[in-house]
C-alpha cells in the first residue's frame, strides 16, 4: 500500500516536471529581472561579481534570512545536544607524525585562502558562504590531525553572533541614513574592480565569512563531542 502511494506520488511529480518543461519556452530570456542585473548590476552596486551584487544587494534581505537559517540550525543543534554532553573523556589515540605536522602546516594556509575568498567576494567568484566553509574545513583538519584540540565554544559563539549582528546593524544604519531603506548601500561605491569598492558589500561578506566559518566549526565541534 505504502509503495503504491509512493509510486503514485513520484509519478505525479514526474508528470508535473515534464509538463512544466513543455510549457516553458526554450531559448528565450526567462527571467524578467535577469537582464537588468546583467546590464546595470555593476554600475548600480559597484560589485564586479554580478552574482554577489544580486545576493547581497538586490536581494540582500534574503541573504539576511539565509544567514539566520544557518544560525537557527546551529543554535538548535546545540540545544538538542545540550544535556548529552558531560561524558567522561575517552583516551584519544594521537595521529601519526606526518598527519600531525601536515595539519599544522596546512591550517594557516587554508585560513588564509578562506579569508581571501570572502574578502574578495565582490570581485571574484566566491563570497562569505564559500569562504566560511573553507575556513571551517581548516578546523576539521585540526580535529582530524591534532586530536584533542578543541575550539573554544565561547569564542566561536561570540564571533558567530557578532557576524549576524553586523549584518543587522549595517542594515539598520541604511535605514537611518539617506533614503530610509533597510540594507541600503549607503557607502561610496568606489572604483569598479578594486578591493575598496561596492560600498557595504565587502563588509557584509566579511561578517558572513566569519559567521559561517565559526558556525560550521561549532557544528563540527558539537557533533565530534557527540561521537566520542
Amino acid at each position: 500500500m505504502r509503495s503504491i502511494i509512493s509510486i503514485l506520488l513520484l509519478a505525479f511529480i514526474a508528470w508535473g516536471i515534464v509538463t512544466v518543461i513543455g510549457e516553458i519556452p526554450f531559448g528565450t530570456e526567462k527571467s524578467r529581472v535577469g537582464g537588468h542585473y546583467v546590464d546595470q548590476g555593476r554600475e548600480e552596486t559597484g560589485a564586479s561579481n554580478i552574482v554577489t551584487s544580486v545576493v547581497l544587494n538586490y536581494r540582500g534581505f534574503d541573504t539576511l534570512g539565509e544567514v539566520t537559517v544557518l544560525f537557527v540550525a546551529a543554535i538548535g543543534l546545540g540545544a538538542a545536544l545540550a544535556t548529552r554532553r558531560k561524558k567522561e573523556k575517552r583516551e584519544i589515540e594521537p595521529a601519526s607524525l606526518v598527519l600531525y605536522t601536515g595539519c599544522r602546516f596546512l591550517f594557516p594556509l587554508i585560513l588564509l585562502f578562506g579569508g581571501y575568498i570572502f574578502i574578495h567576494g565582490h570581485l571574484t567568484p566566491g563570497g562569505g558562504f564559500q569562504g566560511g566553509a573553507i575556513v571551517a574545513s581548516a578546523f576539521i583538519l585540526v580535529y582530524l590531525g591534532c586530536r584533542g584540540r578543541r575550539i573554544s565554544e565561547t569564542v566561536s559563539k561570540t564571533i558567530e553572533s557578532l557576524g549576524g549582528l553586523v549584518f543587522v546593524v549595517v542594515g539598520l544604519v541604511g535605514l537611518a541614513v539617506g533614503g530610509h531603506y533597510f540594507l541600503l548601500n549607503f557607502l561610496p561605491k568606489g572604483e569598479l574592480n578594486t578591493l575598496f569598492s561596492a560600498g557595504i558589500i565587502p563588509i557584509l561578506y566579511i561578517a558572513i565569512g566569519f559567521k559561517v566559518g565559526s558556525e560550521l566549526a561549532g557544528v563540527i565541534d558539537h557533533l565530534m563531542e557527540e561521537s566520542e
Partner: protein, 499 residues
C-alpha cells in the same frame, strides 16, 4: 513606512545579541527578549491606523524599473496587519510567561534566542511580498520550532521533533519545488508581478501543478486533516509557551495565511475554483475528526492539540465558502482561536509547572489551589466552546450564517454539531482538572508565579472580549480591511504595483 523592516530586524538583532549577553546570565537574555517583543508588539498596534492602505516597501531602496520589481518588496495590507497583531500580541505574552516558566529548564539562553528568531521569521512571512523571501522566513520559523519542540531533550520530545522535521521538511521541499517551477513560469519572484504574469499565461497544466504543490505543502504546515500526523506529537512536547505559539500562531501563519495569500491574491480563486472545494472538504474533515479525536484524549496538552486541528478546520472551512461573510468569519475565528488556544496551552503549562503531570485522570480540584489558572481556563474553555457572549460564539455564529447563506445547509449543521462536541470535551477538561476532588498527592499545589498569571489573565480578557471586534467602529479598522484584501482577490497586484 520605514518601520516595516523593524518587525524583522529587531527580533533578529536581539537574537544575535542574546548568545553574547547570556554569558553574563540567562536573565539578561530573557529581559532583552521581552523588550524586543514588547517593542514590536507596540509597533504592531501602532500600525493599525494604516490598515486600510496597502504599503509597499522596497528593501535596499530598489524601486521597480518599468513596473517590474528588481529587489525584494515588503507589503503591508489589511490582512498583514491582522496577522502581525496576532503574532506579536501572543508572542509577547508567551515570552512574559516564559520568564517564570522556563526556570524549569537549563540552557534558557538558547531558548530565548530561538524564540526571538521564530518571532522574526513569523513577522517576515506575513510582511514579505516576495515568494522566495517568504520561503526563507518560513524556514527560519520552521527550523526554530523544530528545535524548540525538542528543547526538553527527553526521548519523547526528540521523537516528536523528529517526526515534525520529517513532515515539515517534506512540506518545505514541495513548496520549494513549487517556487522553482513558479519562477521558471513567470520569470519573477515578486508576488504581485507574478500574479500579473499568470493572468497573461492563463490556466495551463504547469500553473495547476504549482497550485497543487503549494496546496499540499501549506496544508501540511497548517496540519489540515490528512496532513495532521505531526501536530498531536509536536505541539504537546514543546515547553508550554512554545505550544501556545505553535498552536496559536505558527500553524496560522505558515499554513492558513500562506494558503489564503497564494490562492486568493496570487493565483486568483476564480481561476482555481477547485481549491475552494478542497478547502471545504479538508476543513470539514479536520473540524469533525479533530473534535472526535480530542474527545477521547486523557493527556491535557494532546487534547488541546487535537482541538487545534479541529478549530483550524473551522477557519479553512469558512474560507472555502468563498463569500465575504465567510472570509469575515474565518478571520474572526482565526483571531479568537489565537487568543483562547494560547491561553489554554498556558493553563496546561501552569498545571504542568506545579504538578509535572499532563494526565488528566490523575488531576482534579485544582481550582481550589490555583484560582487564577482555574478561572482563566474556564473562560477559555467556554469561549472555544461557543458560549454567548464570549468571543468564540460570535465567530462560530458568523461562520454558520455564512454557510447557510451560501446554501451549504448540511455543512452548517455539521459545524454546529462540532461546536457542541467541542463544548463537551472542554467541559470534560474542566471537570477532570479544575473541579472535583483534590487528590492527596496534590494537596500542596500553589498558584503559579505572578508573570504567568499576568499572561493568562490578559489572554483570558482578550478571549472574553474579542466579540467587540464585530462592533462597527472596530470592525471597520481591523476586520473589514483584511476581508477586503481577500475578497479583492487579484486586485492585490494593482494595489502593490499600482497602475
Amino acid at each position: 513606512m520605514n518601520v516595516l523592516p523593524l518587525f524583522v530586524a529587531i527580533p533578529l538583532g536581539a537574537a544575535f545579541l542574546t548568545p553574547i549577553l547570556s554569558k553574563a546570565g540567562n536573565r539578561i537574555s530573557a529581559v532583552l527578549g521581552l523588550c524586543a517583543n514588547g517593542f514590536i508588539m507596540g509597533l504592531s498596534i501602532w500600525i493599525i491606523q494604516y490598515s486600510k492602505d496597502t504599503i509597499v516597501y522596497f528593501a535596499g531602496g530598489w524601486q521597480p524599473i518599468a513596473g517590474i520589481p528588481i529587489g525584494i518588496a515588503m507589503v503591508m495590507d489589511g490582512l498583514t496587519v491582522v496577522m502581525l497583531l496576532i503574532i506579536n500580541v501572543v508572542g509577547f505574552f508567551a515570552m512574559l510567561y516564559s520568564l517564570n516558566y522556563m526556570t524549569r529548564y537549563t540552557e534558557t539562553g538558547k531558548y530565548y534566542t530561538l524564540f526571538l528568531l521564530m518571532m522574526g521569521g513569523l513577522n517576515g512571512v506575513v510582511l514579505s511580498g516576495d515568494l522566495f523571501n517568504l520561503f526563507v522566513f518560513l524556514e527560519i520559523t520552521a527550523i526554530a520550532s523544530y528545535s524548540l519542540v525538542a528543547f526538553g531533550v527527553e526521548a519523547e520530545e526528540l521523537e516528536a521533533s523528529f517526526k515534525y522535521q520529517v513532515l515539515g521538511g517534506t512540506a518545505s521541499a514541495m513548496i520549494l519545488l513549487g517556487i522553482a517551477v513558479f519562477y521558471q513560469l513567470t520569470g519573477t519572484l515578486n508576488l504581485a508581478d507574478a500574479s500579473r504574469v499568470i493572468e497573461g499565461i492563463g490556466l495551463n497544466p504547469a500553473v495547476i501543478f504549482v497550485g497543487i504543490l503549494f496546496l499540499v505543502g501549506f496544508s501540511l504546515k497548517a496540519a489540515l486533516m490528512p496532513f495532521h500526523a505531526w501536530l498531536p506529537d509536536a505541539h504537546p512536547s514543546a515547553p508550554a509557551p512554545i505550544s501556545a505559539m505553535l498552536s496559536g500562531v505558527v500553524i496560522k501563519v505558515l499554513g492558513v495565511y500562506t494558503l489564503i495569500r497564494m490562492f486568493f491574491n496570487i493565483f486568483g480563486i476564480g481561476r482555481m475554483s477547485f481549491v475552494l472545494i478542497v478547502f471545504l472538504i479538508l476543513g470539514t474533515l479536520s473540524m469533525v475528526a479533530g473534535a472526535f479525536l480530542a474527545l477521547s484524549q486523557k493527556d491535557f496538552k494532546r487534547l488541546l492539540a487535537y482541538s487545534s486541528i479541529s478549530q483550524i478546520g473551522y477557519v479553512i472551512f469558512a474560507f472555502g465558502l468563498g463569500t465575504p461573510l465567510g472570509f469575515l468569519g474565518g478571520l474572526f475565528h482565526l483571531i479568537n482561536h489565537a487568543s483562547f488556544k494560547s491561553l489554554l496551552f498556558l493553563n496546561s503549562g501552569a498545571v504542568v509547572y506545579r504538578t509535572d503531570n499532563r494526565d488528566m485522570e490523575k488531576m482534579g480540584g485544582f481550582s481550589q489551589r490555583m484560582p487564577v489558572t482555574g478561572t482563566t481556563s474556564l473562560m477559555g474553555s467556554l469561549s472555544i466552546g461557543g458560549i454567548p457572549p464570549l468571543g468564540g460564539f460570535w465567530s462560530k455564529l458568523v461562520i454558520v450564517i455564512a454557510a447557510v447563506e451560501s446554501h451549504h445547509f448540511i455543512l452548517a449543521g455539521i459545524a454546529v454539531l462540532t461546536s457542541i462536541i467541542t463544548l463537551a470535551y472542554y467541559l470534560k477538561v474542566q471537570k477532570m482538572t479544575f473541579f472535583g476532588k483534590l487528590s492527596d498527592l496534590y494537596k500542596g499545589v500553589k498558584e503559579v508565579p505572578v508573570l504567568m498569571c499576568v499572561s493568562m489573565v490578559t489572554l483570558a480578557i482578550l478571549s472574553l472580549g474579542l466579540g467587540v471586534l464585530l462592533l462597527p467602529q472596530l470592525r471597520n479598522i481591523i476586520l473589514d480591511p483584511a476581508v477586503n484584501v481577500i475578497a479583492g482577490g487579484l486586485d492585490y497586484a494593482k494595489m502593490v504595483l499600482g497602475g
